[in-house]
Symmetry: C2
Subunit: 362 residues, 2 copies
């Protein structure tokens, strides 16, 4: 499938890819986690047309459509594949569904080591061709305007949903499993890491130009459990990825929510960029790890509820915190929330581009 890639249009705006590799840029690139989402009326319309959330993910044309919607409104420097982090466990037969207003659920849960042993060995790329088809279509439709980000949940994050059977407040079952059956937990995480490698490589082969690993729940672990049960498997994934495509490096972004205390270990994982949530001071993060990796982040998503003036001031303060070196991708510290006014997103994106000029010579 690599041959297919060379047919894509040449990239016109490569700020995002350059910043991830800590190369000079003219403006700080910006995108938003969950930028294709419910805050946009056009997203809600397409979602209604598709039916439920997974039908939208599985419909190649509509998944492409919602991916492109935010780019028609805002000058984002990257697109991100519209999909869900839980496609892999779904492909493994766990039966993903979305109960209205309740978030993701699984029909089957993992509660014993035997449940892990009996997980079916499936070919992720063929089970998840709806994802790679969407990647290829989006890449074609982007027509070189901005790069396309592929993504996956981290093995630990996927495991929490598979064990809990959905979201959780205290991760009781996942922690109980980890503490009582560490070997079975390692087996599960290893199976998931292998699946994520196949999945992300298939996305890269189909046209993804950078990938992000979402470790949404790594931050609920102790420091030592984080290293052993989350970071180690993300490191394995990074080591297994196709790192070049179309003659360019495919950068990897690692985002552990609430991982601010462990930035040094995350930066040493082999990733190109570390995603920061808003609880970390970006100036402090740059001091700690900014010489090794790029940083992505990190405005509080709730700041988008504030006035345009306050948003602009906060963008300015984060830009100043990072300073003038290359290696910053602007983003929120977590996904944008549904109740945000779309006009405020425009203020956010324009502020990043306008105010960042002062920090770049290129």
């Amino acid at each position: 499938m690599t041959e297919q890639n060379s047919n894509f249009a040449p990239l016109k705006n490569d700020r995002f890819l350059r910043a991830l590799l800590r190369q000079p840029v003219d403006r700080t690139p910006v995108w938003m986690m969950r930028q294709a989402g419910r805050y946009l009326p056009e997203y809600r319309a397409t979602r209604a047309q598709a039916g439920d959330f997974m039908s939208l993910c599985k419909n190649t044309e509509l998944a492409c459509e919602v991916t492109l919607q935010p780019l028609r409104r805002y000058a984002f420097d990257a697109a991100i594949l519209f999909s869900d982090i839980l496609t892999i466990p779904d492909a493994m037969g766990q039966g993903l569904y979305f109960a209205e207003g309740e978030g993701p659920k699984f029909k089957k849960v993992i509660r014993t080591p035997a449940d892990v042993e009996s997980l079916p060995d499936v070919s992720i790329p063929s089970e998840l061709s709806y994802v790679t088809d969407a990647v290829a279509l989006i890449r074609r439709e982007l027509n070189g305007s901005v790069p396309l980000i592929g993504f996956s949940g981290s093995p630990w994050t996927l495991a929490t949903y598979m064990i809990e059977g959905g979201g959780s407040k205290d991760f009781r079952h996942a922690k109980e499993f980890l503490y009582n059956h560490p070997e079975a937990m390692h087996l599960l995480l290893d199976k998931l890491a292998d699946a994520v490698i196949d999945y992300l490589n298939a996305q890269i082969a189909a046209g993804a130009q950078a990938v992000q690993i979402f470790d949404t729940w790594g931050g609920v672990l102790t420091p030592s459990a984080y290293r052993t049960f989350s970071l180690a498997y993300m490191q394995k994934i990074i080591g297994g990825l196709t790192r070049h495509s179309d003659g360019r490096e495919v950068p990897v972004i690692l985002f552990t929510k609430n991982g601010g205390q462990w930035l040094e270990s995350i930066a040493a994982s082999g990733c190109n960029a570390v995603g920061l949530d808003w609880t970390t001071d970006i100036a402090n993060a740059r001091e700690r790890i900014g010489a090794q990796v790029a940083l992505q982040g990190n405005m509080d998503p709730s700041m988008l509820y504030a006035s345009p003036e306050a948003i602009r001031a906060e963008v300015g303060s984060i830009l100043a915190g990072f300073g003038s070196n290359p290696g910053h991708v602007f983003n929120l510290g977590h996904g944008i929330t549904p109740a945000v006014n779309p006009d405020h997103v425009a203020v956010f994106v324009e502020s990043v581009h306008e105010l960042s000029a002062a920090y770049h010579d290129a």
Copy 2:
């Protein structure tokens, strides 16, 4: 009311108070956040007798009874007043109630600066005499066996519940208020800080020998918002407290959940001890701030779901991480959860006392 204190029995076990002041002890003292709670069948029985949760808090005899229950089973080195963190907003007329299985709710919410202005000026000690009565009774019933901890929620944490009207996943309304009405937010926090000062001083006058400020939601803020909107008001509280009673210092413990990135600022607040959740490495925390303050924590509460052997090993590892200096109070990194087996708590407490002997000469 200070005269009344001198009538209490002399303290037999002062490990907890000594450790908070970083004085030598013979064993590392241990208690558990939410040690009087639903994991105990006798608690559930008393709670059923009282009716709803607030009726239990407001019944002096029953609040005393549930405070003492865990001490009859385990060799804890401190008792903590049984109450709720939301008594102050309730006293201010916000109408606290507990919807079954849904956590705390308020009948009135604060959504505008005018709502803050119109908060009634109430005398906290007289409105909350049910709390101070419970403190005095518990202190008498403890009869000097172990010290009694009083507590309050932090102003920011109280404000989140008052603005959201209950718990929250993303603190949308509280953040929106903070970002759009910073002056009104400061006014609210200042009113709450004054109320907390009166409340904790009344608890100290009634017999509390140490106090803990629970900043449950400080960790959802950006670093700069944390300092301005949460830590600054806890500092104000610390400065306003009666710091001696019965001829002894009344130590203050400050616990910000998910505050691990800000330990240096927290330690500089004037508190005697910093509470750590389980996402912080205690060896690292001691290196960063352990020369200034005592540390309290920090086993993952979910570790109590593990085997006795695993619990003991984790206790050993945390004790080794802190090492042999004085100034460690053992605790969980957050409250114990309802589904824990009470026998595992016995293993936890015994392990702390047995394994800590090696780290103390006294």
